[in-house]
């Protein structure tokens, strides 16, 4: 582990104040009420608060002074295989974040000084042969503990003060399925909730609830055929190998006592059924509850309600990505949730569809989605063979990727990255099986391609979250892959793929500041305050399933960009 103090060292008095603030943190505890309240100085859960706004009410850094933003400090986690993808959390001046292999750090939020670190001992042989590994996307905080999942199928609780292991619970037989946990857990109501990887693997994608105090499993929900009703939607008993999972964190709705979670795609990822998908193909039927948003009773884990965004998803446009933005409009309490296919779904609090709108222009896996019912219109199901004319849009990376957008209650706008790209595809009926177990279950070869008649690009949109009406847009030559942060300083921060972090005027989209971090971004960004000073923390470091496509497809800077490097960079006013 290396640690660098920034060029703009803080005055001694401020530093001492900050240290005191950090050390006093442990007198308070992070609990459900505190996450619900989302105090402005902290960032207590992956999505910022249960409302999932990814928004900071801090305004010390604002449109008039953002030009004076500079690096306060940096931290290099080391061993950053496939980059740094974590969303930092902050409580009472202490910043917690993870690197690859679930290496967990507690740092003084003002100075970057290391308070403790924890490097879990992993099953390295297993990790080496995993595909979606060894990155980690963050921790959860609650009851004086820090919770982190591991790629070898464990959930670990650490004492927030010391980093010592409080409990370590094995949840998945990773030796058999080779999957584990890369997503951040969610703390709510005395439980830690975490979803497994699984989309392309022959499992049943559980979401687990663990007692935060003891580490004992309280319940488990199978995203593949987790109810009698769902089992009927998997012909040929294909539920046994259905994939699913919920690999990114959801949120908690205290008003309905519900865990809201997005689920992954079914396996095989691409199907050869053609239009007869209800009766033919590798997994005949709708394949519940994959590519869905689900509401689970937090006390029992029982399914309360759901909406399957893509019945029989044949395109890998799953619903695990993204936030559950809770807001009110005309007296109605709504939830806004993006789908990887490039559509934004608007629900009521029981996940009944209220609207669906397009963030992305280049979509042809369906002609449309009915905004009243959410039904797919003109779906494009493939038989075996090549799909080239037109190419399938969007690309497998999604019209929307897994990182988060941001909603500003101040402007009323939803800031979200869209990705305009397509792919050619060769759908395969089967694979020659020469080992006695299924392997990575994709069912197609594919290659990135430009949209018909256009270029690949990415864009940050400022939209009405309910109607989708666009106020402004900023374009990028390659789609940004990191999360977005809006603040009460009327700023929107976008860390892009080339390594530049941009700050825009939240009302107009005018760029006000940028800084080159020197390597691509594909992780989280948060804001917090220590000792009366506001900070912006962003992870940098490229690599992984999607980022690895950038070098071969875009060349340029991506050819030399390291895949196994990264850091946390923290900014403040000079």
């Amino acid at each position: 582990m290396k640690k660098h103090l920034g060029y703009f060292s803080l005055p001694v008095a401020v530093a001492i104040g900050a240290t005191l603030a950090a050390s006093s943190a442990f007198a308070q505890t992070v609990d459900t009420a505190r996450i619900e309240a989302a105090g402005q100085n902290d960032w207590l859960t992956y999505h910022g608060s249960y409302k999932s706004h990814h928004y900071s009410p801090l305004a010390q850094i604002n449109t008039s002074n953002v030009g004076n933003l500079g690096v306060a400090w940096m931290h290099i986690p080391g061993r950053s295989t496939r980059g740094v993808q974590s969303m930092p959390l902050v409580a009472d001046g202490v910043l917690y974040y993870t690197g690859s292999y679930s290496r967990t750090f507690a740092l003084n939020g003002a100075t970057g000084e290391l308070i403790w670190h924890y490097f879990p001992e992993l099953d390295e042989a297993l990790v080496k042969r995993q595909t979606h590994s060894p990155y980690n996307r963050g921790v959860a905080l609650g009851e004086g503990k820090v919770y982190v999942g591991t790629v070898d199928g464990r959930l670990i609780a650490l004492d927030a003060k010391t980093g010592r292991v409080a409990w370590d619970t094995k949840l998945i037989d990773s030796q058999k399925l080779t999957v584990g946990f890369t997503g951040a857990p969610l703390y709510a109501k005395g439980l830690v909730i975490i979803g497994a990887q699984g989309g392309e693997w022959p499992g049943r994608g559980p979401i687990f609830a663990i007692d935060a105090a003891t580490g004992k499993k309280k319940w488990e929900f199978l995203t593949v055929a987790g109810t009698e009703e769902a089992m009927k939607t998997w012909g040929g008993d294909s539920w046994r190998t259905g994939g699913g999972g919920g690999w990114m964190p959801g949120t908690y709705d205290s008003e309905t006592n519900t865990i809201l979670w997005g689920t992954a795609n079914p396996a095989p990822l691409y199907d050869w059924s053609g239009a007869d998908y209800k009766t033919q193909g590798a997994r005949p039927g709708d394949n519940l509850y994959t590519s869905s948003v689900i509401g689970l009773d937090i006390d029992t884990g029982k399914l309360k309600f759901y909406h399957q965004e893509l019945p029989h998803d044949a395109w890998d446009f799953d619903s695990s990505v993204g936030e559950f933005v809770m807001l009110e409009r005309d007296g109605q309490k709504l939830i806004v949730h993006p789908n990887k296919g490039g559509f934004i779904f608007v629900y009521d609090r029981n996940l009944a569809v209220k609207n669906v709108w397009r963030l992305v222009q280049n979509i042809n896996f369906v002609k449309d989605i009915d905004p009243k019912t959410g039904a797919l219109i003109g779906r494009r199901d493939f038989t075996a063979g090549k799909v080239t004319d037109p190419p399938l849009c969007p690309f497998i990376g999604g019209g929307i990727s897994w990182n988060a957008g941001s909603y500003s209650p101040k402007t009323g706008l939803y800031y979200k990255i869209g990705q305009e790209w397509c792919m050619t595809l060769d759908v395969q009926k089967t694979t020659p099986v020469t080992t006695p177990q299924a392997q990575l279950n994709i069912g197609a070869d594919f290659k990135m391609a430009p949209p018909p008649g256009g270029e690949i690009y990415g864009h940050l949109d400022a939209r009405d979250p309910v109607t989708g009406v666009k106020k402004w847009e900023v374009r990028y030559p390659e789609p940004p892959l990191g999360s977005v942060l809006a603040t009460a300083g009327n700023l929107v921060f976008v860390p892009d793929s080339r390594g530049v972090i941009h700050a825009y005027d939240a009302e107009t989209g005018t760029e006000l500041w940028n800084h080159n971090n020197g390597t691509g971004h594909q992780g989280g960004i948060v804001s917090y305050s220590v000792g009366g000073k506001q900070y912006i923390a962003v992870t940098a470091g490229f690599g992984g399933m999607l980022a690895d496509e950038y070098g071969p497809n875009f060349g340029g800077i991506y050819k030399s960009m390291p895949r196994d490097d990264g850091m946390l960079v923290v900014f403040s006013l000079k």
């Binding site: 030796q175 008993d237 990822l269 395969q428 089967t430 099986v433 279950n441 994709i442």
Partner: protein, 255 residues
């Protein structure tokens, strides 16, 4: 075997490293032949080592024939062999088209296999043709057997692991398991109390039968010739038959 489609590489393009070809001279000068194998796939291979699996035993025999030692690299999917940097893979389908984008070159075949039915001892099933709408067959997800059997309107039950499918037959949850002869034979060897009846392969279904060879990653001519010669010697002196027999597998002559 023309209808066997290429092995998928799709979402995993990014994992493929820039592997170098390994000519025979390089293997001999380093004294090491690299074998990629799945770590948890008995009777094929087993990282835990007891038993090591017939791929590991045959790999050692091939390395001895080349005058080098065997180095194992454990992979979970075939595309990982490039970044692993190994030289050979065993039990590959001896068909260039089937290897598709793996770029594997294949040796002369050393046995014939495919998909068979394993049924309870008392079952009335005698062949694939005797399957009907009342018989439920366990299949491996994404396999040819899954497609071919379901197209005949025979009910299927999809499994991720052949041994799970065989267990389901033994427990009378399904009527038959469509699996490799190796998996079924090894199941019988290790579960004598639950031994199943293994039906003969049906050569009339081309996609359920294939020859097996050594797969080589970017070999030079010398390595191909050396592997072919080594396989021939090990077949002729009965080494290959003896190795597979230890796992209950009786090899059939390639066709």
């Amino acid at each position: 075997m023309k209808t066997i489609l290429p092995f998928m590489v799709g979402a995993v393009i990014g994992l493929i490293g820039s592997a170098q070809a390994r000519p025979l001279d390089a293997i001999r000068s380093t004294g090491v032949l690299g074998l990629c194998a799945h770590p948890n796939s008995l009777p094929f291979a087993n990282k835990a080592g007891d038993p090591p699996g017939f791929q590991v035993e045959l790999g050692r025999a091939l390395a001895r024939e080349l005058g080098v030692s065997l180095e194992l690299d454990w992979i979970i999917t075939r595309y990982q062999m490039r970044s692993a940097g190994c030289d050979i893979l065993l039990d590959v389908i001896a068909d260039r088209e089937a290897q598709g984008e793996t770029n594997l070159r294949v040796s002369k075949p050393y046995y014939r296999t495919g998909v068979i039915l394993a049924v309870p001892q008392a079952s009335k099933l005698t062949s694939f043709k005797s399957l009907d709408g009342q018989t439920k067959v366990g299949v491996l997800v994404g396999s040819f057997a899954a497609m071919i059997i379901s197209q005949r309107r025979v009910p299927i039950s999809t499994f991720g692991f052949e041994v799970d499918s065989l267990e389901a037959v033994a427990n009378h949850e399904i009527d038959a398991a469509a699996v490799t002869p190796a998996a079924a034979s090894y199941f019988n060897l290790t579960h004598p109390d639950k031994a199943l009846r293994i039906l003969d392969r049906d050569e009339s279904e081309a996609n359920l039968n294939w020859n097996v060879a050594v797969g080589m990653f970017r070999p030079d001519d010398n390595l191909r010739e050396a592997i072919d010669a080594a396989v021939e010697r090990l077949r002729a002196d009965g080494t290959i038959d003896r190795i597979y027999k230890r796992y209950g597998v009786v090899l059939q002559t390639p066709k």
